[in-house]
């Protein structure tokens, strides 16, 4: 089972039993999710209210995190932006996990020609960088959240399906599967009722880590102006909008969304890694 997840020795110190870091990250993620869920009630200003007279003002009582080049409140945009910034990766992870597990289980359980066809065709996706695939699809379907999410979902699918396939292969050869077979269970029953639940924690841990990567990729797309529509508050988009502010010497409205992205991604990684560790430890 240890073959399953890519272990990164450099992260050992983060993962080791210093659970306060894990709790901190879990708490941070909880905070972000709460902010995203209750954004309309929590944001102090309308995130899209333009106030050109007050552009690039520093932190003040009314605007604790300052305003951007168009005079929009940074705090409100960060809070509202958490919605799209989390919803996008969620879509990517759900899509890639569901489709990847289906493909991986079919390939690993059936084997033979089906395995060859599925494994080779998903490996073909590896040949395209995920962002490039997303750029291609966005350029066809125009900007919006659906197109990049589907594109990244397809790009992330092979990682999930490859992991699932190796897990299913290991699980299939365990004697209890044969024991269920001689009790008269069909292959499908064993697969759905026993193999799938047994491999689920590992796959879900990997998906948690994938969430962070998907967030970076989508923020990157937004930064390039290809993700969410122009006026929608989004962390990647905010970095893009803040570019001119940096040149004018007011970097705060660009740096804050960067910090939000980095912290969220790190938090997802720490939580996912720790989950994966717990799963691996239990299997041993």
């Amino acid at each position: 089972m240890t073959i399953a997840l890519v272990r990164r020795p450099g992260l050992a110190r983060i993962r080791s039993d210093r659970s306060w870091l894990h709790l901190l990250c879990l708490g941070f993620l909880g905070l972000v999710v709460v902010l995203a869920l209750f954004a309309p009630w929590l944001s102090p200003h309308d995130p899209n209210a333009v106030d050109l007279g007050n552009a690039l003002a520093g932190p003040s009582g009314a605007h604790p995190l300052g305003v951007d080049g168009s005079g929009r409140d940074t705090a409100s945009r960060l809070i509202t932006g958490a919605r799209t910034s989390l919803l996008g990766p969620l879509g990517v992870v759900v899509f890639s996990t569901v489709a990847g597990v289906v493909v991986g289980v079919a390939a690993g359980w059936r084997g033979g020609w089906l395995d060859s066809v599925l494994s080779r065709s998903t490996e073909l996706v590896f040949a395209f960088p995920g962002l490039l695939l997303a750029l291609l699809i966005v350029s066809i379907y125009g900007e919006g959240l659906i197109a990049p999410v589907v594109a990244l979902g397809v790009a992330y699918l092979p990682y999930v399906s490859r992991l699932t396939r190796s897990l299913v292969l290991a699980e299939r050869s365990r004697p209890y599967v044969e024991a269920y077979r001689v009790q008269g269970h069909s292959g499908l029953q064993i697969c759905l009722r026993h193999v799938l639940p047994n491999i689920a924690p590992v796959v879900l841990a990997q998906s948690t880590i994938n969430f962070g990567y998907a967030l970076i990729d989508l923020a990157g797309l937004s930064f390039l102006g290809l993700g969410v529509p122009a006026l929608t508050p989004d962390w990647g988009r905010m970095v893009f909008d803040g570019e001119s502010a940096i040149q004018s010497g007011y970097p705060l409205c660009a740096i804050l969304p960067c910090v939000a992205i980095v912290l969220t991604v790190v938090a997802f990684n720490v939580v996912g890694e720790r989950w994966a560790d717990q799963v691996a430890r239990r299997d041993r």
Binding site: Y176, E178, A179, Y180, G184
Partner: protein, 351 residues
Amino acid sequence: MTDTPAGTPAADAATPETPNPETPTLEIQGLRLNLPGAARPVLAGVDLTVAARETVALVGESGSGKSLTSRSVLRLLPPGAATEGAVRVQGEDVLTMNAKQLRRLRTHTAAMIFQDPRAAINPLRRIGDFLTESLRLNADLPAAEATERAVRMLDAVGLGDRVLGQYPGQLSGGMLQRVVIAAALMGDPALILADEPTTALDVTTQAEVVGLLGDLRDQFGTALLFVTHDLGLAAAISDRVYVMYAGRIAETGPAEALFQRPRHPYTAALLRSTPHLDAPAGRLAAIEGRPPSLREELTGCPFAARCAFATQQCREELPPHLPVRGESSRLVACHHSEKLADQLAGSVTHD
């Protein structure tokens, strides 16, 4: 392989719908099994019968095909295996069943007990779940009835209903093997196949499990095919014994007679190499050489290369299974069985 073991009635005429008492619970006739990449059949014509309520031991060393023989009864064959012959459970040929019949056979008629109980149970499911799942899903029994039966079976194997809510990791190996035996009994099978069920257990637990299997046979009237490499165990538990070597039955007969007066040099050599506590200390007797490799074809008697009594005839001619003179229930596949009888018996008791 047209010869059937003596003392078993011909079951060809029996129809599956009316299993009359004459039909043996398990009847294997001329079973041959070829694997891709093997030069000779892994099973080269195995004949074996288990009558109702009978306990039969299948003895042999690793690689002799004893496990494959028992697994073929549930058609649990390695990928690419090609079979010939017939394996009939209560008169129905397992090898030609469709998927539905096969599942019914596995759920209700025949059950298997595996070597390592800890590996044979899904570690993430509770015992109660493991016991009742087959009946709930494949026999459409309501959950309450299945649980009730599980409690009764657990009681029969000497466990309380507390284990229903426990996970496999919370039970000892011996308890788990009892759970596996209870699971085998859940479908009320006519035949239980036990594939070295005590190998993974320590000696005291072994004795318990073997005693339990004997009790259960008396209580539930199931036939038992007991696969083992432990001769002492085979002698203790079984009515009849089949000794297997290189995919063939070397010798068969009632347990006591076979171990008292072996008629095949291989049986005698096996008995000689069993360690005894009261024997003088020294090197353990072993059979020289190795069992024939699957990569080479065999001519003549498969045991000839390791047999102290082998002659030219042994190396060239496959010995047929012939009844032992004066003991109609015994068969032996050795050219020199008659000549060697006294010598072999002497060599065993001498130690």
